[in-house]
Symmetry: C2
């Protein structure tokens, strides 16, 4: 359904050559780049779970497991970012997005305006066409759903089910404590993925949305293999330390935050050892100029299923596949 | 995010050749048919506006302007159908869908199961690949968002902004009273659109989602033209008469229901006169075998903007662009 939200979204944008028929018709028509595959993913953000609109939660120490307040503009940005992160995890180049929103009847117009602003900012920053949307008004809270469409050469998408024993597990940046604010300023690794894919062999990939232990387990399970994480090698974000210091009594140290917090949106790659070595040393070699990754080898893929952590004293412990749980009954 | 809902959705489905990487990864990879354009549209259905889950509303006479109760399976079917209807209105062949849901935490599992069943039924009936999804649990009501991806030959999509003065307005079937049940058993005109597009010249098209007067105005306004509807020629569905008889005192006759009810999902086509004549006579000529349309010429496109109705006595009246209003403040 054509509506204000989409019109606002498009009002300031120039025509996009990738759209043979732009947003505003029953559907948009995309010109896919020659001989490329179409990659598609959808992510939905819901108020009260993925974000809480500002003003409804007391400021200060973050409540356990609950994100701090966001502006509607941040919600718009994040909704686009998490879908683009899925494209990055496929090594796909973002081409277009469509956005569906359910707006609270009260105050919906102001919220729509802000969400549209955030969506447009991210679309511009990542050079994706806005190909349409659907606006709904209802008596419920805000819901934003973004479908992202990308392209990749045939057979070149990074899958999660093709890791091989002997691969090294490589992470593109530090993890943990995203709840302190990074979860509202998500930087999808799209350009980084394209550069990596062009230069290094990658056997499998997944993005860190629900926590390293859980997402790594997904990759390993899908591939029918197991993994051993070198726990001291896992890069810990300063936010993980800050969050631990804010809540010292909860029994979760910085490493636990890095393993379980989620919403980091770094990439976890399974790479043959020589490719992994070349990648983590690429910074010195200027191969990845223009990106801001801190790649680190954090473990090894093994034939035996299961996820284990090797501690500093060389002992190994089983790691639970814990992370953000989308539970319902 | 990979979740149960999507796994259930896919559990019973055979592998689909259109998917190079199937659902379950960070994104799906589609093989578009050679030298075709990708067509994309999204529609979101929200509980309380587009449907009310059964058991929450007294049976019997439909309440004014509010849909009667639906099963979660019907919601799943409808969510797919309305997106496919948008593809039909572009003359695009459906290729794939992705589905995002927000499920109530209480009872969400049973609802997810039913929604998935409805989605899978429609996907099978219209031969579309299920390319992925996103499941969310929250404390709010049910939301289902379906993005549909189709294909069309370059330059062959039916736009809504290309109607020309002198075109005839052709409708693919009768309108009105969909609230009595047809709104939960939507039959998108996908195969019909493909057959029409292959045989007849169509200058512009739109599907009837929010009501003839409103949707026709959208087509005319987008094209920078106006239209005159031949009111006695508008095919009125028996449900429009039934709904009028159920609520005789509301001042809305069967024609008003046909003009304003929405959710019929017939197509409105702007065609050159000779093409329109050939199309409405096509049934006799077996050109559209296997379809169940009752095409009718219902008006004319004129240069002067505005929408008018010509009555049986040849007088004309302005028609308000009224229909379902997705209002918010």
């Amino acid at each position: 359904v054509e509506t204000d939200f989409v019109r606002w979204l498009l009002a300031t944008l120039p025509p996009d050559d990738r759209l043979e028929v732009p947003a505003g018709d029953d559907a948009a028509v995309l010109r896919p780049p020659g001989n490329r595959r179409t990659v598609v993913t959808v992510d939905m953000l819901t108020e009260g779970v993925d974000f809480l609109l500002g003003g409804m939660l007391a400021q200060g120490e973050p409540t356990s497991g609950f994100p701090p307040p966001a502006t509607a503009e941040q919600v718009g940005r994040k909704a686009v970012a998490v879908s683009l992160s899925d494209l990055a995890a496929m090594a796909a180049r973002p081409e277009a997005i469509v956005v569906a929103v359910a707006l609270p009847r009260q105050g919906g117009r102001a919220i729509a305006d802000e969400v549209a602003k955030g969506v447009a900012e991210m679309a511009a920053a990542y050079d994706v066409a806005i190909a349409g949307g659907d606006t709904n008004a209802w008596d419920g809270p805000l819901v934003v759903s973004v479908t992202a469409i990308g392209s990749v050469s045939p057979g070149r998408a990074w899958r999660r089910d093709t890791a091989l024993p002997g691969d090294l597990l490589v992470l593109t940046g530090p993890l943990g404590g995203s709840l302190l604010g990074r979860h509202l300023a998500v930087t999808p690794r799209c350009r980084e993925a394209e550069k990596i894919a062009a230069q290094f062999a990658v056997h499998a990939a997944i993005d860190m949305s629900d926590g390293l232990a859980l997402d790594c387990t997904r990759l390993l399970t899908a591939s029918g293999v197991g993994g051993v994480l070198d726990l001291p090698a896992i890069p810990i974000h300063p936010d993980a330390v800050r969050l631990h210091n804010l809540r010292p009594g909860d029994g979760r140290g910085p490493l636990a935050h890095a393993l379980g917090d989620g919403e980091d949106f770094e990439l976890l790659l399974a790479m043959p050892p020589e490719a992994a070595a070349a990648f983590v040393n690429a910074d010195q070699n200027q191969l990845l100029a223009g990106t801001s990754m801190q790649p680190a080898v954090i473990g090894t893929v093994v034939a035996e299923p299961g996820l284990y952590g090797r501690q500093a004293d060389e002992t190994t412990v089983p790691l639970a596949a814990e992370g953000f749980d989308h539970a319902f009954d």
